[in-house]
């Protein structure tokens, strides 16, 4: 990850301009971007419906939410709203996945690409104080965190970025209509992509099993992960809540919770680029991204495939190659 250019304000202005123009010209009914949350440490999804409200939109390294999650609900049923949307690099990959399966209607979509230089790991940052963090600011390579007493701590940006931002290969959107600001340089020498995964893989089976049980023991089955997931699109008809077939029971315990998460994982295999939206939505902080990244690591090794990169590519589990380099026996 290259050091930050710190041109957040420029990009923010550009997003606002693009949204304003689109709204004024009637190209979109509403624009989905990021806006300020309940305090200055939170940035949340924001829906803007008139050009005079675009100034509510913000762009900074707290804008973690993958807004394509809002598309999965209604896009397949035309003729309905025309939607404008801002996407970061990883968000665009989920959009590409949806486009590959023709699950969103391109005709009704206006996409503003946002080059991204890494998103702050708000969860880690908020733990540097025991009491409430009320403000997070990023300037150059420093993250300043302020708590409710007004105390401020300076953190190294590099250490408090989301894990997958540190080894991000695609900081620029893979699909967009207009790009807000200039593309950032794509890193040449890759930070080790799968460090955490390899550490986990090296553990003995019993230990992995224990860690899994420990992680899923605390799942409360609120379904935030699947509802926040941009590529998990069954929405109101999730098989995890069905009685027939009964893959997952209503009982909440580590086993059922893990089974539920497996349903999520296998159902998004080949579409999920590990954007981390599920992980960040989890109210009890289960490190879901590890599972999804592991899956992507295996897909990469199996088929040299990365989800959401190429619009023309067929979804990897909806096709096959007779020469697939496995299962020949």
């Amino acid at each position: 990850m290259s050091p930050a250019n710190g041109n957040y304000e420029e990009v923010e202005q550009r997003i606002r301009e693009l949204a304003r123009t689109a709204l004024e010209e009637g190209r979109v009914d509403y624009f989905i971007g990021w806006t300020a949350g309940y305090n200055e440490s939170e940035v949340i999804p924001g829906f803007v419906r008139s050009a005079d409200r675009v100034d509510a939109l913000v762009w900074n390294p707290l804008a973690a939410y993958n807004l394509t999650a809002f598309l999965k609900r209604k896009m397949p049923d035309p003729p309905q709203a025309k939607i404008g949307l801002a996407v970061k690099g990883c968000d665009s990959r989920t959009l590409v996945s949806l486009l590959q399966e023709e699950l969103v209607d391109r005709e009704r979509l206006y996409v503003v690409g946002v080059p991204c230089e890494g998103i702050v790991n708000r969860r880690a940052v908020s733990k540097v104080f025991a009491n409430e963090v009320v403000k997070i600011e990023v300037e150059d390579d420093t993250i300043s965190v302020t708590n409710q007493d007004g105390e401020t701590k300076q953190l190294a940006r590099e250490e408090y970025l989301l894990d997958h931002c540190r080894s991000c290969k695609y900081p620029n959107p893979r699909y967009f209509d207009d790009l807000a600001g200039e593309a950032v340089t794509e890193p040449e020498d890759q930070a080790p992509m799968w460090r955490e995964i390899e550490e986990f893989e090296a553990l003995p089976e019993a230990e992995k099993d224990r860690l899994m049980a420990e992680a899923f023991e605390k799942c409360i089955r609120c379904y935030a992960c699947i509802n926040a997931c941009p590529v998990c699109y069954c929405w109101d008809n999730c098989v995890c809540r069905a009685r027939q077939p009964k893959l997952v029971s209503q009982k909440v315990n580590a086993q059922e919770n893990l089974m539920f998460q497996m349903v999520h994982m296998f159902h998004v295999a080949g579409r999920c680029p590990s954007c981390g939206n599920c992980d960040r939505a989890c109210p009890v902080e289960i490190p879901l991204y590890l599972l999804h990244r592991k899956m992507n690591k295996e897909l990469k090794e199996m088929l040299d495939f990365e989800p959401g990169i190429d619009l023309e590519q067929k979804p990897v589990f909806q096709t096959f190659d007779v020469n697939d380099p496995f299962g020949q026996h």
């Binding site: 086993q255 349903v263 296998f266 199996m302 697939d324």
Partner: protein, 152 residues
């Protein structure tokens, strides 16, 4: 009604399954199920602590079916279908192969020993091969013993 018999590994266990492993086989109707049938007809000795689920095609199998089997107490799951290229429905097993391969690679992440899951291809005429595959697989599972108190 306990009736002492030999397990694949030669240890004795009672008919009611106590002290034994539970192994589920998901077999395609056209090749592997016929192969297993053939092995039976030929009176080839097969381990019987093996519960077969017959499916029309391996393409029907969702990795979640396998996980569900484990969750409900299976100690091992063996999937077998037609050889690539010989699928009764032309290409079902090619799709299956990708899914099953991903599952096989993901299972260790969940704390499964690799010996607990295998997917393979056995044709209707390969009764001998079937005997060998299933015996070896169950031997592997028996060596590990039952999965108890596991996360999934």
């Amino acid at each position: 009604m306990a009736q002492a018999t030999e397990t694949a590994t030669g240890t004795t266990a009672s008919w009611d399954g106590e002290g034994r492993v539970k192994v589920v086989g998901i077999l395609c109707n056209w090749c592997s199920y016929a192969g297993a049938d053939g092995a039976g007809t030929a009176r080839l000795r097969q381990p019987f602590d093996f519960r077969i689920v017959r499916v029309p095609c391996t393409g029907r199998i969702d990795p979640l079916h396998i996980l569900k089997a484990f969750e409900k107490g299976a100690d091992g799951v063996l999937v077998s279908g037609c050889h690539p290229g010989d699928c009764h429905y032309a290409e079902g097993n090619y799709y299956a192969r990708r899914k099953l391969e991903l599952l096989e690679r993901m299972l260790p992440q969940l704390g499964f020993e690799p010996e607990r899951f295998k997917y393979t291809w056995v044709s209707a005429s390969e009764a001998q091969r079937w005997q060998q595959v299933v015996t070896e697989f169950i031997k592997g599972v028996e060596k590990l013993g039952p999965r108890e108190g596991r996360a999934l």
